[in-house]
């Protein structure tokens, strides 16, 4: 009984986090459409609810009630499994992400994370690497040339960008002497890592954009040349699972950028609770990602590979070298 009671806070936290994550794409699609519209001097969705706020809800109902089509030539089992496989890693990433320092609540100390792993950063990088499996399975199971091309592109892209991404955070780990995310944030007391690790941040930011397959690196789902990439054949609820996964990766990426380079929940104004300050920074990053999306065209495929292997990788290695020398 004691043991079960001790699990209660964890269960509550899990329900809250999973619930928020499942609902998060609704405001994010609205935000994305609004930002796209205003960059093009349009008002965007306006008719469903105040300033179109209920538009995502209407879209969700539309997606859920649509026919769930499976092509006859598709591998039915893998086709059904792929969206779930794509969805699990982004959720797993949030297991290790802390939202603030432990707080006192009802007389007990509550940590604001599901699990503050001492290898948190490594766990996150490893788990986000699994995300590529959903893409591979979706592309292969669809038995369609566009889907296969999209998934092939995405495999190559994710493999080549995971390396600079991993290297770029080593500088941060060296500064904090830990891979625990709470420790990394604590080490930024006074001075955020963005000041000490500008190159590391740049590499992480760009590689992260490529990992999340956002414009300018969204070749796997390039609408112009591939239909919709690996989820060309998906419709209805299975497609919405891919959408969900994509938005969660985006949010996770924003969280990582803030935690690793922008001091996490540190340095906010006194009247704001630290976790709200963290969410504010994360929201700012999400806004920047969307701003980038509607500003830049897509890179060509060979340019993408060139940037990954000939620019970002040497830059991240240089960053490790320079930080190492400076710390000695």
């Amino acid at each position: 009984m004691e043991y079960v009671l001790s699990l209660l806070p964890l269960a509550i936290k899990m329900v809250i986090v999973v619930g928020i994550l499942l609902l998060l794409p609704l405001p994010l699609t609205w935000l994305e459409r609004k930002i796209a519209a205003h960059i093009q001097q349009r008002p965007g969705p306006m008719r469903v609810g105040w300033h179109g706020l209920l538009q995502p809800l209407a879209d969700a109902i539309k997606l859920l009630t649509k026919e769930d089509h499976i092509p006859t030539e598709a591998d039915r089992m893998l086709f059904a499994v792929a969206p779930v496989v794509a969805l699990v890693p982004p959720f797993l990433v949030f297991v290790a992400i802390p939202f603030g320092d432990p707080v006192q609540l009802f007389g007990t100390t509550v940590t604001l994370s599901l699990a503050d792993l001492n290898v948190g950063l490594l766990f996150i990088l490893a788990v986000s690497g699994i995300g590529v499996f959903g893409t591979i399975l979706a592309g292969w199971a669809s038995n369609s040339k566009y889907a296969v091309l999209g998934s092939l592109r995405s495999i190559a892209q994710m493999i080549s960008y995971e390396i600079p991404m991993g290297f770029s955070v080593i500088g941060v780990v060296m500064l904090a002497n830990s891979m625990q995310l709470t420790q990394i944030v604590a080490a930024q007391q006074g001075l955020w890592n963005i000041v000490l690790q500008p190159i590391g941040f740049f590499v992480f930011f760009v590689a992260g954009l490529a990992e999340a397959q956002r414009i300018p690196f969204d070749l796997p789902e390039a609408e112009g040349d591939l239909g919709a990439g690996y989820h060309t054949e998906y419709s209805g609820i299975r497609f919405s699972l891919f959408m969900l996964a994509e938005y969660l990766v985006l949010v996770a990426l924003a969280f990582l950028n803030v935690l690793l380079f922008f001091g996490g929940w540190l340095g906010g104004p006194a009247f704001l609770p630290p976790f709200l300050w963290l969410f504010f920074k994360v929201g700012l990053f999400i806004w920047v990602f969307m701003w980038l999306r509607f500003t830049f065209p897509r890179y060509r495929y060979d340019q993408l590979m060139t940037i990954g292997w000939k620019v970002l990788l040497p830059l991240s290695l240089l960053n490790i070298l320079v930080s190492g020398f400076l710390m000695l």
Binding site: I35, A37, H38, I39, Q40, Q41, R42, P43, M46, R47, W291, L292, F294, T295, F296
Partner: protein
């Protein structure tokens, strides 16, 4: 052709992505500027200029009689054959139209009937919402043409309006200040 921002600043520009930053600055400016969309059926409606050729109307004289003398010139000149005129003679011995039908589904709003009319009777107005769910109502008769709205004053303005669900879902002008003739000046143009 102007050089890109990246080239203008030489190798320093290349390293710090001056061209990408210039693009971001531009889109940020657009993001912060006002939208130019007319909130057409819901809140706003654009009233066309005087020269606009919309829904027809029939002019009447001071005695309330139609100006039309049923000469049939409009019907003859009409390139899509959409005007039917059948004349009759009144007690005063004046030739007037007994039937004056325009099939709006066929009409191409060229305005030739207006030009051909010797009696200043048939005119094309500024009304442009003629959508309907029943094709029969697209044939308008003489009394519809007399009742149809005349040319609006101050065309070219965006005026407050409201979507009326009755009567075929049309946007109806409301009283209130207009956003004026220069609504297009909100369009942001990069220098």
């Amino acid at each position: 052709m102007a050089r890109t921002a990246g080239e203008r600043h030489g190798w320093i520009g290349r390293i710090f992505f001056a061209d990408l930053l210039a693009g971001l600055r531009l889109t940020l400016g657009y993001m912060m500027s006002k939208t130019v969309t007319h909130h057409y059926p819901d809140n706003e409606k654009w009233v066309p200029y005087q020269r606009h050729r919309g829904h027809h109307f029939m002019n009447t004289n001071d005695q309330g009689e139609v100006n039309c003398v049923a000469c049939g010139l409009c019907s003859v000149i009409c390139p899509c054959d959409c005007i039917t005129v059948i004349p009759f003679e009144t007690e005063q011995g004046v030739r007037r139209p007994k039937v004056f039908d325009i099939d709006l589904a066929r009409c191409l709003y060229c305005g030739l009937c207006e030009d051909a009319c010797p009696a200043d009777a048939i005119k094309l107005g500024q009304e442009y919402e003629v959508s309907t769910t029943n094709r029969a109502t697209l044939t308008v008769h003489l009394e519809d043409l007399i009742a149809a709205p005349r040319k609006a004053e101050n065309g070219g303005l965006v005026r407050p309006a409201k979507l009326e669900p009755t009567g075929g879902q049309h946007s109806v002008l409301q009283s209130g200040p207009s956003s004026g003739l220069d609504w297009w000046s909100r369009i942001r143009r990069p220098r």
